[in-house]
């Protein structure tokens, strides 16, 4: 790959001005990482402010075969925004304008650098919200959410990012600026290309504007905190509730280790002795919620729930969720590194998957926590470890090899919401055969023939 020569730099600076072009090593060091442990230094960091600027930058990058890695807030858990082949980091954080809020037509138009929480804030006065709610929603950008097809707890009921992208403006590696979709909730005009780009992790094109579907806020939200003596019962309660036809907004499972780590940090007064805890949230019309709640409690009791507690107010709910959202960070406190994956299995397999995760981590003598958006089978086995301890680290790697294989074996998949990036690229053959992977390569080849967009990742 080409270095950025003095001449190329001048051309790039000419597009964005010196202020939005960084290439001193102290500054570059700040773009060598995201929330994954892998790091690599870029040669330059550029902050575009318009699609035209992005287009002109990509034309130059294509001409000189300079790698371009897109970045939002750098919260990727699979290394999606780390420039493993160096080159340019294109940081979209300054393209942070909300272009239009239109709740009458149920959409919002945003630039890619708008933070997920800002979208929620803009919609709240109208009584609307945008369902995808990744743990990093207070800082992660919509551009990153789209690139990774981000999920979150309430995606159980509402679906993931892809289900909310109505349309987008994308700049291709060639510099062409293309548009897919529209402001319409129903739109079957041509290929649904936004689904291709959503989740492409910056390998196919760079989103410069998105039209997102928004939905009215439910009139009532109720939250339950449930404890179990047995982790197996906890997981069975989940598949039982889903299997009986009830669809809560969220069902979060935490094992004892996770719960204790959270309790150490927040002191919420949770039951430290429970082997399994569920945080269940249902929303909708008040009367319907109450009926559903009754049914859920029935299922919980049938599965030997120890203690069922309804959260009494919004502040309580917010506290529980804040604690749940911080689980990743809480684990980070335990060791220098943390490996958190997001293998996903059909919900009926959740009890089996939890058992296997426990067995595998125990057999490698690792401390692990299990946390899951259990209602949709999205598991977060988390292992605190030290990368400098090579012996321990190799056990961690082996354990994850087996965890991914187990998920595939149960009809599951590699990633429910973080994406593949660098973290899971080598596991792709477990769930995609050679022909399927070749198809992805051919698509990549057709859209980004020089291979400049986020090289070194899964495709």
């Amino acid at each position: 790959m080409t270095q950025i020569t003095h001449e190329i730099k001048n051309q790039l600076v000419h597009i964005v001005t010196q202020k939005r072009y960084l290439d001193r090593k102290e500054e570059l060091a700040c773009y060598a990482y995201d929330a994954f442990w892998e790091e690599a230094m870029p040669h330059a960091v550029i902050f575009p402010e318009t699609a035209v600027e992005v287009s002109r930058i990509l034309k130059i990058a294509s001409a000189h075969k300079i790698p371009v890695t897109a970045r939002g807030a750098g919260t990727s858990l699979c290394s999606a925004s780390v420039p493993v082949h160096h080159g340019i980091v294109l940081c979209f954080s300054k393209m942070d304008k909300i272009v239009e809020v239109n709740t009458a037509d149920r959409y919002i138009i945003v630039q890619p650098g708008v933070i997920n929480a800002e979208v929620q804030k803009a919609l709240a006065p109208f009584g609307f919200f945008y369902p995808p709610d990744p743990g990093s929603m207070n800082i992660a950008t919509i551009g990153g959410n789209i690139a990774q097809n981000a999920g979150g707890p309430r995606c159980l009921k509402y679906g993931v990012t892809m289900d909310y992208v109505l349309g987008m403006e994308v700049v291709l590696a060639s510099g062409e600026i293309v548009n897919f979709g529209s402001r319409n909730v129903k739109d079957v005009t041509g290929y649904k290309l936004s689904s291709l780009f959503c989740g492409s992790e910056g390998t196919l094109g760079l989103v410069t504007r998105a039209i997102l579907k928004v939905v009215p806020k439910p009139e009532s939200v109720q939250t339950l905190m449930v404890t179990f003596r047995d982790l197996d019962d906890t997981a069975k309660a989940v598949s039982d509730i889903i299997g009986s036809g009830i669809l809560p907004a969220a069902m979060e499972l935490m094992d004892r280790f996770t719960l204790n780590a959270i309790e150490d940090s927040f002191g919420l007064g949770l039951d430290r002795t429970a082997e399994g805890t569920l945080l269940i949230e249902i929303d909708g019309i008040k009367e319907a919620c109450e009926r559903e709640m009754g049914k859920i409690i029935e299922r919980l009791k049938a599965n030997n729930a120890l203690h069922i507690q309804e959260s009494s107010n919004d502040a309580d709910r917010e506290r529980l969720w804040a604690a749940r959202r911080s689980a990743y960070g809480v684990f980070a406190k335990l060791a220098p590194d943390i490996v958190s994956e997001d293998v996903t299995v059909p919900v009926s397999q959740v009890p089996e998957m939890v058992r296997r995760i426990k067995q595998i981590t125990q057999s490698y003598n690792l401390t692990a926590g299990v946390l899951a958006h259990a209602g949709d089978g999205n598991m977060h086995p988390m292992i605190p470890a030290d990368r400098n301890n090579t012996q321990e680290w190799s056990r961690v790697e082996k354990a994850f090899d087996e965890i991914f294989a187990a998920a595939a074996d149960l009809g599951g998949t590699l990633s429910g919401e973080h994406g593949i990036g660098l973290a899971k690229a080598r596991y792709l053959p477990l769930v995609m055969n050679q022909d399927s992977r070749n198809l992805m390569s051919r698509i990549k080849q057709a859209i980004d023939p020089a291979g400049i967009l986020n090289p070194g990742k899964f495709v």
Binding site: G74, I139, D337
Partner: protein, 423 residues
């Protein structure tokens, strides 16, 4: 902020601190984020990056508000790591002249007095056209507060008797701002405490808390020793500060500084340090900010029934009030329940104003953006008063309002004191 310092390597780089950082929110640049500063410190410590003017700049482009540390799920104390790193950067890179002279002035009580004298002369002599035209940071010179005609501590007795029956005695640490700039805060603090039945002791030998020095990499050991000596000499029920930054020095920074200095001290000196540590602990445990104190004693305040209703009144929560004393909810409840005041919360009450010690001077462009939306919000609620319990915030808020004076920026104690029933 008192927790033992977690090693840097425990930063999981999750990025949650970005959402808490006022500077990142304005710049949207990773290099201006707490996470980046931690990675830079890591790189400096393992020698992948050497000290440089740019590294120093990136480390100091920070308000030291401590919001990141509070948001960190990994329990990293960014604040202490930043403080250490600032010291290392100043040692290797030096400091800009304006800041250097500030540190020189603040590190000795006699110099503070001399500096204030010169400044007063300057304020008298500076021609109007010059004052109108020039700015210090993002604030026009002529919108800086006038110095107290006589430093506050010289205008009051060293021990002031309570009104009515004595409930106890309190030591009042006035800080430099009340002493030299905002005597009204001092008068009101004493007025309220004596109204509540407390004898107020104002140690004559107290000096600058030292936080401005620490932020600029000077260890401020001398300031700390002077203050510990001054405060420990009095038997009292509590130590009251009217500025939560000074309060953070007494409560958090002195014990931390002693811990660090002790580790490097010779065995012969350990005994002295141990004694000092015990004193510092006592002081830390007794320190309370005036608003939390008033909130706890609100029911004992007797208000003048004929006091005019003031309003609308907005509040700005300073960073050390939010993050070190965690007093914001208490203050909100206090203001809401004051009978003579129409407290009107603004949506960004807890957002940083950009003052940040000398941040407004060093990074006026960023500070200005932070101020802008706050100013819009207080104007939108037609606030007559804008209250804040930090003198730097007060300088910054009032310096950025227009000159018409429609909105008065005050320490909350001044309005509370004004509404008390006169004997």
């Amino acid at each position: 902020m008192n927790a033992p310092i977690k090693p840097l390597k425990n930063c999981g780089k999750c990025g949650l601190c970005l959402g808490a950082c006022p500077v990142y929110k304005v710049l949207k640049e990773e290099q201006a984020s707490p996470r980046a500063r931690l990675q830079l410190i890591k790189a400096f410590e393992n020698s992948t990056l050497e000290a440089s003017p740019l590294l120093k700049e990136l480390i100091s482009k920070c308000l030291m508000c401590g919001s990141c540390a509070l948001a960190c799920p990994s329990g990293i104390n960014h604040y202490e790591h930043f403080m250490d790193m600032r010291q290392k950067m100043v040692e290797s890179q030096g400091e800009i002249p304006a800041i250097k002279s500030l540190i020189y002035l603040l590190s000795k009580e006699s110099r503070i007095r001399m500096g204030a004298g010169v400044a007063k002369l300057g304020q008298k002599l500076a021609p109007r056209w010059l004052a109108d035209k020039y700015r210090l940071g993002n604030i026009p010179i002529n919108q800086f507060p006038r110095l107290n005609p006589t430093p506050f501590r010289k205008t009051v007795a060293a021990t002031i008797s309570p009104k009515g029956r004595k409930k106890g005695s309190l030591v009042y640490f006035t800080g430099c701002a009340t002493h030299f700039l905002y005597a009204d805060t001092g008068i009101s603090t004493v007025g309220i405490l004596t109204h509540l039945g407390y004898e107020v002791i104002i140690p004559r030998d107290q000096t600058c808390c030292g936080i401005p020095l620490m932020f600029h990499g000077a260890p401020a050991v001398e300031n700390m020793m002077t203050n510990i000596k001054a405060l420990c000499a009095h038997d009292c029920h509590g130590i009251v500060v009217d500025c939560t930054t000074c309060g953070a020095a007494l409560k958090d920074e002195y014990p931390a500084l002693i811990r660090k200095t002790m580790a490097k001290a010779s065995p012969a000196d350990q005994h002295t340090w141990k004694a000092l540590k015990a004193c510092a602990r006592k002081i830390a445990a007794k320190t309370t900010d005036i608003l939390s104190f008033i909130a706890a004693h609100r029911k004992e305040l007797v208000f003048d029934e004929n006091a005019p209703k003031l309003g609308p009144v907005a509040y700005h929560a300073p960073c050390h009030s939010r993050n070190s004393f965690k007093s914001q909810p208490l203050v909100q409840a206090l203001l809401r329940n004051l009978p003579f005041m129409d407290y009107t919360p603004t949506p960004d009450e807890a957002e940083c104003c950009g003052g940040g010690g000398t941040f407004f001077y060093e990074h006026p462009d960023i500070a200005k953006i932070m101020m802008e939306s706050k100013r819009r919000h207080v104007t939108a609620v037609n606030a007559r008063y804008w209250l804040t319990d930090c003198p730097v915030c007060r300088i910054n808020l009032s310096g950025n309002l227009d000159k018409s004076g429609d909105i008065q920026v005050r320490h909350p104690v001044t309005l509370i004191h004004g509404a008390l029933k006169k004997p």
